[in-house]
Every structure is written in structure tokens, then in C-alpha cells.
């Protein structure tokens, strides 16, 4: 069960049109840039992209430019300030993409329960807002809650600092963010890593993603991306 792939192209070879893909990262930190660029190159269409943000320090807007995205689910679909053109927003206004904007904590928990075999959960977040539209409400201990359902995906594209060959992962600082939970919620998890080491080289107490959640590993260059720029 060798999980190490030589190229990003091979690692994403079966990511076909219509795929639901989770992308890790928050801004540039922990974004799987090499896998995103490979996906742009491959040209997979009609993607449902699940990501905290898009074009906010990350390279996901490249997929917009290529008109590869059909639907975007995330907490920051739109940038407040625009240093680059806001491609998803333009596509949205043109009626070319669907957007589901989700509170960040609800999104994180929906992904986590997607990997955890939980059917749904009640959160007080979003009560009385447009997020609540069409959702069930329930009062628990006197507090109004919304019923939220799991998010799952065909693929998770994630970024880690180091992987061992069994797929155990460690992250660096704020690059962890959505990566570990997305790894649990997809049928196939593919990791863009800076370094590949042998089993036993990582501290078992600091492994944030156990190897059983990881299917494919590709080592790639680290890109010089800057926060939200």
C-alpha cells in the first residue's frame, strides 16, 4: 500500500468532472497549491468546491478563471477588499456559479461530523439569520438551535508540512486549520507535502492526521504566498 505518488498529475488522475472536492487552507496558510494548480492544468469541470475561502491568498480562483467550478461552499466566498479581481463573485453575478455561504464554525463542524459518522447536529449559530432559511429549529435548554447536516466529499485536497510514508501528517502552526478534518470527510484524501519521512520519524503525540485518513501523498515545492494577498 504505497501512498507516495511521483507527480500531482498522477495523484489527481481520477478527479473527474462533477467531483465534490474539499480544499484545506485558511488564506494562503495550509492551502494545497500544488494540487490546485494540477487541477487547473487537468481541467476537471463542474466541480463543487468546499473551502473556507477562494482567491484570498490561495490559488483557487485559478479554477474560476478556467470556469471549472459549478458550486462553491465556504465561509469567505467574497473578499471584502479586492486586490485581485474577485472572479467567483463575477461568475456569481453572471449566474455561472452557485454559492453556499456557511458560518465558519458550522462549516468546520459539518466537515468533522461528515467524517465521524454523525447524522447531524444542533448549533445556536445562524439563528435569526438568512443561514437559518429552510432549516429546522429546535429549542434545547431554552436556547434556539439550527439543525445542520454533514459535509462530505469525493476528494479532499489538503496541505501538510511533513508526511511519513504511511500517511501520518504534521502541520506547521496556522496551516493546520481545515486540513485534518477534511482528511476524515472525503472518500479519497490527497496531500500536498513539503517533506516525506519514514514511519517513526514523526512524534506520535504530535501527529494531527493519523495515516489511515490519507490515501495519496505528493511532495511539492512550497509557494511564496502571503496571507490574504
Amino acid at each position: 500500500m504505497n501512498k507516495v505518488y511521483a507527480t500531482t498529475a498522477e495523484a489527481i488522475a481520477d478527479v473527474d468532472d462533477g467531483a465534490v472536492i474539499m480544499f484545506g487552507g485558511f488564506g494562503s496558510a495550509g492551502s494545497p497549491t500544488n494540487l490546485i494548480l494540477a487541477l487547473a492544468e487537468k481541467g476537471t469541470k463542474d466541480i463543487t468546491a468546499i473551502s473556507n475561502n477562494i482567491g484570498l491568498g490561495d490559488k483557487l480562483d485559478t479554477l474560476c478563471q478556467n470556469k471549472q467550478i459549478r458550486k462553491f461552499i465556504g465561509s469567505f466566498p467574497i473578499r471584502a477588499t479586492s486586490q485581485r479581481p474577485d472572479l467567483l463573485y463575477q461568475a456569481y453575478l453572471a449566474g455561472e456559479v452557485e454559492i453556499e455561504v456557511v458560518p465558519q464554525g458550522t462549516m468546520a463542524e459539518r466537515i468533522r461530523v461528515g467524517g465521524a459518522g454523525i447524522g447531524g447536529f444542533y448549533t445556536p449559530t445562524g439563528i435569526g439569520t438568512s443561514v437559518a432559511e429552510g432549516k429546522e429549529e429546535r429549542v434545547i435548554d431554552g436556547v434556539r438551535h439550527l439543525l445542520e447536516f454533514p459535509l462530505k466529499a469525493d476528494f479532499a485536497f489538503i496541505k501538510a508540512y511533513k508526511a511519513d510514508t504511511m500517511g501520518n501528517l504534521v502541520y506547521r502552526m496556522s496551516t493546520r486549520n481545515f486540513n485534518p478534518i477534511m482528511a476524515t470527510a472525503a472518500r479519497i484524501t490527497i496531500v500536498d507535502v513539503e517533506e516525506i519521512v519514514e514511519p517513526g520519524d514523526l512524534d506520535p503525540e504530535a501527529i494531527a492526521t493519523p495515516g489511515i485518513y490519507v490515501d495519496r501523498i505528493v511532495k511539492g515545492p512550497k509557494h511564496d504566498l502571503h496571507g490574504f494577498e
Binding site: 485558511f26 488564506g27 494562503s28 496558510a29 495550509g30 473556507n52 475561502n53 484570498l56 491568498g57 465561509s75 469567505f76 466566498p77 467574497i78 473578499r79 471584502a80 463573485y89 456569481y92 453575478l93 454559492i99 455561504v101 456557511v102 458560518p103 465558519q104 464554525g105 458550522t106 462549516m107 468546520a108 463542524e109 466537515i111 468533522r112 448549533t123 445556536p124 449559530t125 445562524g126 439563528i127 435569526g128 439569520t129 438568512s130 443561514v131 502541520y171 506547521r172 502552526m173 496556522s174 496551516t175 493546520r176 486549520n177 481545515f178 486540513n179 485534518p180 478534518i181 494531527a208 511564496d224 504566498l225 502571503h226 496571507g227 490574504f228 494577498e229
Partner: protein
């Protein structure tokens, strides 16, 4: 009109006066980000960033210090303090939703007299970004809004009912603007403090709901 009263920095300074030793604090984007520059002497607070950091330090522009793997929730490179830790986004929002954050300061587009908060979408744009704001507004023990008192076109931001899409209902505890500090209470909005040179009448004229002058209404101590 928006140039009257406090600068953005002084609004942040006033918000910082609410910090107490040992508090766990999450700062939103905009004016709130500046709060970390005005922590009162002798007070140690722990800053949480929803992208998975507890205990980060100052933002940095020092090329030798910047590490783009270490950014706050506003995308700025930050430094790390001793005792910091990292965690994933679901764990981060356990902290936030689970009421382990003592205080959050958030920007706003509108706040209603009931403490409803609208800060994620300008309706004309038809779409916006929620980020962590809804969870923070619902989960933090204390929610302070830091904003300009009126819009660029002179409309009150403190309104009877928010016309902009809501972030959370009845969430705001204290509003700090360039003109005043206003507490949200079950009885209504209580005008607690005024910026230097600003009259209660002037603040009321730029505020849609009726303000209740506090018995101890005073000039803001900055």
C-alpha cells in the same frame, strides 16, 4: 461628519479598556484588529485566532520575523508568545461556540436597539462573507462592537431594526463608536460615555432608536 469624535485608533483604545487580566480574546477584522495595540498596562490577555491559534503576539512587518505559516484570522503575519498552541478549525470553534472566549470585538454595519448585529453583507452586493462572525457573536461571553457611528453617507448605523442581513440576534453587549459608548440592556440602549466635545443631543441625532442617558453619563476616559 464621520471625522468627528474619535479616530479608529481611539475607538480601539476605548475597547481595550474592557480587557481584564487573563481574558481570552478574539478580535475581528477592521477596527477590532487595532485593539491589540492598546492593551492596558499590567493586563495579560490571550488572543485566539479562529484559524487555529491560541496565544499569538503582535502582528509583524519585519521581513526577518514574518513566517506566512503563522497568520491571524485577518491574514496578517503574527508572532508567537510562549505558551501558544495550535489546533484545527473544528477545535477552534469548540472554543468559540462553547463559550470559552471571554470577549470578542467585532466590526459592524448596523446594530439594533435589541443588540442584533449585521456585519457580513451589504444587500446591494447580493452576496457576502460570514467567516467566523456568526459563531463569535453567538458564542463569546461578551460581544463588543467597534465601528463608526454613521455610514459614509450619513445614515445611522445604530438602528431600531437592522435592514441589512443579520449576523446574530440580541448578541451585542457594548457598542463603541467614534462618538460614544452605548450599552445594550433589556430596557434599551444606555448612553454611557461621550467622546470629548460631543453632546448627548448630537449622538441622539445620529442614532435611530432613543438612547437612555446613564445616571453616570460621562466623558470617555481615554
Amino acid at each position: 461628519m464621520t471625522s468627528m469624535g474619535l479616530s479608529r485608533e481611539l475607538i480601539a483604545l476605548r475597547v481595550a479598556r474592557e480587557l481584564r487580566d487573563g481574558m481570552v480574546v478574539n478580535l475581528g477584522i477592521g477596527i477590532p484588529t487595532l485593539v491589540s495595540d492598546f492593551i492596558p498596562a499590567g493586563v495579560t490577555v490571550i488572543f485566539q485566532a479562529e484559524n487555529g491559534i491560541l496565544g499569538y503576539g503582535a502582528t509583524t512587518a519585519d521581513e526577518n520575523e514574518i513566517d506566512w505559516d503563522l497568520i491571524n484570522a485577518g491574514g496578517q503575519p503574527v508572532t508567537l508568545l510562549a505558551g501558544a498552541s495550535f489546533f484545527h478549525s473544528a477545535d477552534s470553534f469548540c472554543m468559540i461556540r462553547g463559550s470559552h472566549i471571554d470577549l470578542t470585538a467585532l466590526g459592524a454595519l448596523q446594530v439594533s436597539e435589541k443588540g442584533d448585529l449585521a456585519n457580513w453583507m451589504v444587500p446591494a452586493r447580493r452576496m457576502g462573507s460570514i467567516g467566523g462572525a456568526m459563531d463569535l457573536a453567538v458564542g463569546a461571553k461578551r460581544v463588543i462592537v467597534a465601528m463608526e457611528h454613521i455610514t459614509k453617507t450619513g445614515e445611522p448605523r445604530i438602528v431600531k431594526t437592522c435592514s441589512y442581513p443579520l449576523t446574530a440576534v440580541g448578541a451585542v453587549d457594548l457598542i463603541v463608536t467614534n462618538l460614544a459608548a452605548i450599552q445594550v440592556t433589556p430596557a434599551g440602549l444606555v448612553l454611557k460615555e461621550l467622546a470629548y466635545g460631543v453632546s448627548p443631543e448630537y449622538v441622539q441625532s445620529l442614532t435611530e432608536p432613543v438612547l437612555i442617558p446613564a445616571p453616570d453619563l460621562r466623558e470617555m476616559d481615554l
